[in-house]
Amino acid sequence: MTTDRAKEKAKALLLPLAVLLAFEAWARATHLQSDSLAPPSEIIMALAGAFADFSILTATRDTLFSAFAGLAIGTVIGLALGIAFGISDTLNRLMEVTVEAVRPIPSIALLPIALIALGFGYRMEIVIVAFACVWPILILSRAAVRSIEPRLMEVSRALRLPAAQRVWKIIIPAALPRIFVAFRLSAGIALIVAVTVEIAINPLGLGAGIMLAQQALRPDLMLAYLVWIGAIGYALNILLVVAQHRLFGRAALSGDSA
């Protein structure tokens, strides 16, 4: 069983390795001179260099700080609205048009508004990330609250729990596995939006780093940033998937289809 899985993994690694080797060989054979490509060995050297002078670490910290701050704010707002809409059908129906009118605005379109209101820096990036994260959390937590076993709600009514306790003791624990799925999705979105804002305009973090490397005609450094951004995206995803399985086991899987 384990050898089979190891074999599968080895097969999966074959293609990327072959591509990298072929590219390295081709770049050496042709003495590649390019503003947009660099052989893998140079990319690794550039990545090591960026680690050695801490520039990529500072950039990572800035990006992750903005992404997580925005994610936290977006989660709190999205969860509050999602739970409220999930509990009260009246509220949900009354707000429907408003939500549907604001939700389709692409988060990046808010960039110029945030720019003139807040200027460059962390704050405008955090606001845009938060806006992008609110919607998936709102929609999925609303669905999660609605799908709570009705008998649980009856119990809470029979116990005459006050509203705050009902939310805290019954609704959040019951809906938590599916809320975590929403959180996982939003974390991915947060990173994407943060990097996108930095690439488009904000002069900080990994996005600004990769743009700077491009403008300095350093393809090795640019691709090193690209690889690093990809690695962070991958690691974040793995981390959250593992956390989901550890925390909720099978319970979370039911929410994945939502």
């Binding site: 999966a12 605005i105 960039l111 110029p112 508004i113 209101a117 690209l226 990809g230």
Partner: protein, 257 residues
């Protein structure tokens, strides 16, 4: 009939709530609680929207954005379904190629923009490449997934009928994977819109992204809000159109169940 009436009543109430939010926005703007440099009232945004359309400026920008989005998305759809079908219909490709694609999936696609700029410059081609590259992932992965999830008995039937591989793809796999593929295409639509705006901002291409950025730089907040409203409307209309298309195209499946 009665149920219909209550549905409409709720809708009307919901519109009234939305209208009162707009009224609140107007009130805040009128009282100048937020500086009018940042926040125009809905009246000014509307005037700007009407003016922009009547002199053709805004219409052109909207057309530019729609064009970027449509070309990139269509290219991504065709290539994504084709590549997805090739990978999904072959066991060898599924073991050797699909994991690499899954590995690349969490990469924030906008990070490819600097690479595309280095290769293609600040051009229309760069924008199309970036949009297509970003939009292809959901479609391609959905197609692979859809092909892998086809009811195995259908493949057995195809084999016993001695259908060729192409015939299997077109007559068995594609139809049965179509819900997955359409869901992927819907996701891609949002990606395409966002990347269009980003590319327009970066490369100064004709489009709403460029328009909102210029308006922001010149502190013309009414024009800026008009642009953002149009972008929201674009997102909404395209997603509604996609739902309708999905509904139409999958009607045969709903009937089957």
């Amino acid at each position: 009939m009665n149920r219909n009436a209550t549905v409409w009543l709720w809708r009307a109430a919901s519109f009234a709530v939305a209208a009162s939010f707009i009224a609140l926005w107007q009130l805040i703007a009128n009282l100048k609680l937020v500086s009018p440099v940042f926040l125009p009232g809905p009246d000014r945004a509307w005037t700007s929207l009407v003016r922009g359309f009547s002199n053709g400026d805004l219409g052109n920008k909207l057309a530019g954005t729609l064009e970027h989005m449509a070309y990139g998305w269509l290219a991504a759809s065709i290539a994504g379904i084709a590549i997805g079908a090739i990978i999904g219909s072959s066991r060898i490709m599924r073991t050797y190629v699909a994991p690499s694609l899954e590995f690349l999936r969490p990469l924030p696609v906008s990070a490819i923009i600097p690479v595309a700029i280095a290769m293609l410059g600040l051009t229309q081609a760069m924008a199309l490449f970036v949009i297509a590259f970003g939009a292809i992932w959901p479609i391609m992965l959905a197609t692979i997934h859809g092909f892998a999830a086809v009811e195995p008995r259908l493949y057995e039937v195809a084999r016993s009928l001695q259908m060729s591989r192409l015939a299997v793809i077109f007559k068995v796999a594609l139809p049965s994977a179509s819900p997955d593929i359409l869901a992927g295409m819907r996701l891609s639509l949002t990606v395409a819109l966002i990347l269009s705006v980003v590319c327009e901002i970066l490369a100064g291409l004709d489009g709403l992204g460029h328009w909102v950025l210029l308006s922001a730089r010149a502190f013309r907040s009414a024009d800026l809000f008009a642009g953002v409203i149009l972008l929201g409307l674009t997102g909404y209309v395209t997603s509604v159109a996609m739902s309708m298309a999905e509904h139409r195209l999958l009607a045969w499946q709903a009937a089957q169940r």
